[in-house]
């Protein structure tokens, strides 16, 4: 009924029993006409920089790109809320013909004078590259006039994929790194990269590190401030969570500031614990940190374990499909679902790389479908084939699941419940339970036809 496009076939793998992991095609531009779930270069930059809450974020282009990203992420700030606005040069036909530089400069000067941000990011959209605006020159002039960093983000939508947008964001942020005073930063200090404080997750993590005796200099970009980023080169270790988005920044900091980095994930008990132990090991000069890490993990797991077991009883044997932005999160989700007694039958991402997909195959059960840069038709096909009970993804995947009578859990940037950390694992279990166990599914046509389904509900 639903056929894969021939050019999409190399991006889909079924894990074979006992066979070594197959190489998967990935990192390609999406096939034309395929309804990719990906966005564009601009999207990549915008999501990564969005949570910097004391900066002005202005989208240089026609209105759409700014309108669709207004207050879009659940990235919380403990202070300024400037990032939750949508500023646009709202280019009109005349600007396209005669150039938008003048409008951009006026817009920046007015906005900076009014909102007094600590820095400004200027996102280039598709047509800015085409009409030949010299955005960098405008930024330079405005920086001189206002005395704040004014940073161009080279995020023209068509110039690559979302990953290139991440890279452009890292390049822009990197211009701030090393410009602040590192005095007072202790020897046991880290930065968290690729953590966006969705639903307050950064605050949970900051609390854990504080309890370990580790100082978090900057979280880039969750609840982030320009001043933190400027001095983050004083930290001794970078922990990179959303590795797809921030590894580039970590590598630049490793090269120029000799700060090593480690990949971590804060989702699920296993990965969360490993992240804390990794940092503790790194600061092995103070064995007390490891002792505190062990104690923290013990306390936190003890606190949530009984309730997790209750959910597990209800969820054991259920099957899930996962489709997320970055592959590293998918690893954690496979493990977290396993902890709940659930099996992952389909797993994919928008931007995973070859190594990610190799690892995914390794941790997956035989028969699991692994997919790169999928689309609604394929995802529906896989869900039907594997007859999953739950889909984990973002808003664009939600109606696919619901229409087919499948539970859905939002693990994307719009989520309103923290899913990171130990408490996040409990929230995750609760949400999975609420998604799967609701009595409404008995009325969904695909489920209603099954007698056993009704008795199970």
């Amino acid at each position: 009924m639903i056929d894969l496009l021939p050019e999409r076939q190399p991006q889909v793998v079924r894990k074979a029993d006992g066979a070594p992991a197959a190489d998967m095609a990935c990192g390609k531009a999406s096939a034309a006409g395929s309804v990719s779930q990906r966005a564009c270069v601009f999207c990549g930059s915008r999501v990564v920089l969005y949570p910097i809450s004391d900066a002005l974020h202005i989208v240089h282009g026609p209105i759409g790109c700014a309108a669709y990203t207004w207050d879009i992420r659940g990235a919380l700030s403990s202070g300024p809320q400037l990032h939750r606005n949508s500023f646009s040069t709202d280019l009109q036909e005349m600007d396209v013909i005669f150039g938008g530089e003048k409008k951009l400069e006026a817009a920046l000067l007015e906005l900076i004078a009014h909102y007094k941000p600590q820095a400004a990011f200027i996102y280039s959209t598709c047509i800015v590259g085409l009409i030949g605006d010299d955005v960098s020159a405008v930024c330079k002039r405005v920086a001189e006039k206002t005395g704040i960093p004014v940073l161009p983000v080279h995020s023209e939508g068509f110039k690559g994929t979302k990953k290139d947008g991440y890279r452009a964001a890292c390049e822009a942020v990197y211009k701030l790194v090393g410009t602040g005073d590192t005095a007072g930063i202790g020897p046991h200090s880290i930065n968290i990269l690729g953590e966006f404080n969705l639903a307050g997750e950064t605050w949970i993590l900051r609390d854990y590190y504080k309890r370990l005796g580790i100082e978090v200099v900057a979280c880039i970009t969750g609840d982030s401030r320009i001043a933190d980023i400027r001095r983050c080169h004083g930290a001794k270790l970078n922990l990179v969570q959303c590795s797809g988005s921030m590894t580039h920044l970590a590598k630049m900091m490793e090269r120029e500031h000799q700060i090593p980095f480690k990949r971590v994930s804060y989702f699920g008990i296993e990965d969360m614990s490993a992240a804390l132990y990794d940092a503790a090991k790194f600061f092995g000069d103070d064995p007390a940190i490891m002792l505190r890490a062990q104690q923290l993990v013990r306390e936190e797991i003890t606190a949530i374990y009984p309730e997790l077991q209750r959910y597990k009883q209800k969820l054991v044997g259920k099957r899930a499909a996962i489709y997320v932005g970055g592959a590293f999160k998918a690893f954690s989700l496979v493990r977290a679902l396993r902890l709940l007694g659930m099996e992952t039958a389909v797993v994919g991402s928008q931007t995973g790389d070859m190594e990610d997909y190799r690892q995914l195959q390794e941790i997956s059960d035989p028969g699991t479908i692994i997919v790169d840069d999928s689309n609604p038709l394929e995802l529906a096909k896989f869900c039907l084939e594997k007859d999953v009970d739950l889909f984990i993804g973002g808003v664009k995947e939600r109606p696919i699941a619901y229409k087919l009578g499948i539970g859905f859990c939002d693990h994307n940037h719009e989520r309103k419940e923290p899913l990171a950390g130990f408490v996040g694992m409990l929230n995750f279990a609760k949400e999975v339970y609420a998604s799967v166990a609701s009595p409404v599914w008995q009325f969904a046509p695909r489920r209603a036809n099954r007698v056993d389904e009704v008795s199970r509900a």
Partner: protein, 484 residues
């Protein structure tokens, strides 16, 4: 800031010093060239509009078996999908030609062809609705030529017609894209023919519930009709027993072909008066008379619509609707005290604002600010015509954004806001209710089921407005009366 200052840099103090004069009118700042309004900022801050291709995509999903296709970057289709899905909570597949750097330099013809072939293969659509984006328009993509090249090279594989519409996002708003797509459909698919006695209804961007109501009314008048677009089922459908690549429902292609043979077209929207639309196009090409009326929101605008149908059908308004009207009037009397001289801020698409303001005036609410991100230059005129009771001092703003509404709002002392969910932060800051209407409604379920049109829509809006005022009264009362 004084009217004479002409500062490029405006400080916080300056804007704080904007003093409301009289009934909240702001001292006008200096006019800027080619700007139809005064503005303290060159930028748009929290836009009260969306980009043109969004409107076109929604229209195309209101045609049976049609898949929207955006000629541009991948992001355009993904962002628009997400935005529409968050309102309708329905699948919304939009294909993309997915421009790369080479396409931007050498033209997107190759990607367009490949994209069309892939879409035909995967979705087997009855129609592809291809809309351009700012990227395609800026590099000068010529859609008719792209279609010609496509047919020349792959003629045999092109199993569905393709309708194209030019929707550069630097020209107009989502509403312009919406009307442009409706126009493109009738222009490119409409056929001449013996007059059928059927009517065309082009309702504009209304909710799925509104579309269902329109169909019911037209049928009850005994009229044969073509409603275009009709996303009442595609964007508010049932849960599936089998996978549906493109949700069922929508205006059939044959019906669109028949629009050229209709006896009249009804087009909603007072601000469309001077525009080239589906209605004007059919009038010119096929001599189908175009009948314009406002969005039928509230009593008078609905009366006008029902009178139009009575004239076209030769039947009186069915008793079902005169009773709906009667109950509505009865309820207006029951509730009038709770809303009289309440002050409302109305915002959204221009024709929605006209309709809502007209209804508010009918029930004794004062629309203190009527604002839209659109720029038809007709908003004020349309408002004064549709809402003769609108006080002279009510502020009317075209090309306005939410930051401007937020800055003006406190001095206007509104009792409630009415419009899309994007005003929620303003309502929250002022601690007043927001009556969610129009598009988008991203923070509640059921946006697609909000009724606005006809007596039934007015009834629903009225009950919600009165109850919101009663809730404020009850919640803020120390006693919390049991009877109100």
């Amino acid at each position: 800031m004084t009217a004479t200052s002409h500062l490029h840099v405006i400080s916080r103090e300056d804007t704080d010093a904007i003093v409301p004069v009289g009934h909240g009118l702001v001292v006008p700042p200096p006019m800027e060239e080619e700007e139809p309004r005064s503005k303290h900022f060159s930028s748009t801050r929290n836009a009260c509009k969306l980009c043109t291709p969004l409107g076109a995509c929604l229209v195309f999903r209101g045609v049976e078996g049609c898949i929207p296709f955006l000629h541009g970057s991948q992001g355009c289709s993904t962002y628009i999908r997400r935005y529409l899905i968050s309102h309708f909570r329905e699948p919304m597949d939009i294909a993309s030609s997915n421009f790369h750097e080479e396409s931007a330099i050498f033209g997107g013809s190759g990607n367009f062809q490949k994209g069309v072939l892939n879409v035909l293969r995967q979705y087997q659509p009855q129609l592809i609705g291809a809309a351009t984006t700012c990227l395609a328009e800026t590099i000068g993509e010529d859609m008719p030529r792209l279609l010609h090249d496509l047919r020349e090279k792959h003629g045999d594989s092109i199993t569905a017609p393709i309708v194209t519409v030019s929707t550069a996002s630097y020209r107009g708003t989502h509403i312009d894209g919406f009307h442009a797509a409706v126009k493109a459909l009738v222009e490119q698919l409409g056929q001449p023919g013996e007059k059928t006695g059927a009517v065309n209804l082009f309702p504009g961007m209304v909710s799925a519930a509104d579309l269902r109501l329109m169909k019911e009314i037209l049928a009850d008048f005994g009229l044969h009709y073509t409603l275009l677009p009709d996303y009442s089922e595609t964007m508010d459908g049932e849960t599936w027993s089998e996978y549906e690549k493109l949700q069922s429902g929508g205006t059939p292609l044959a019906a669109i072909a028949g629009t050229g043979a209709a006896k009249a077209s009804i087009e909603f929207g007072r601000t469309l008066a001077g525009a080239e639309t589906a209605g004007t196009s059919l009038q010119k090409k096929f001599n189908v008379p175009r009948l314009m009326t406002g969005l039928p929101i509230g009593i008078r605008e609905s009366d006008a619509f029902f009178a139009l149908l009575a004239g076209l059908s030769g039947h009186e308004t069915p008793v079902k609707y005169s009773r709906e009207r009667g109950r509505l009037v009865d309820s207006l009397i029951d509730g009038h005290k709770y809303v009289f001289e309440k002050r409302a801020i109305v915002y959204g698409e221009e024709d929605l604002v006209v309709g809502l303001a007209s209804f508010l005036c009918e029930i004794g609410v004062t629309p203190v600010l009527c604002a839209s991100g659109g720029r038809s230059r007709l908003l004020e005129t349309a408002l004064r015509e549709a809402a003769p009771l609108l006080p002279a001092e009510s502020i009317v703003k075209e090309g306005f954004d939410f930051a401007e509404i937020a800055e003006l709002a406190p001095s206007l002392k509104p009792d409630f806001l009415i419009g899309s969910s994007k005003g929620s932060q303003i309502a929250r800051a002022l601690r007043i209710p927001l009556i969610r209407a129009g598009f988008p409604i991203h923070d509640r379920i059921g946006g697609q089921r909000v009724a606005h049109l006809g007596y039934r829509g007015a009834q629903e809006l009225y009950d919600r407005i009165v109850n919101a005022m009663l809730e404020v009264k009850q919640d803020s009362s120390e006693v919390g009366y049991a009877y109100l």
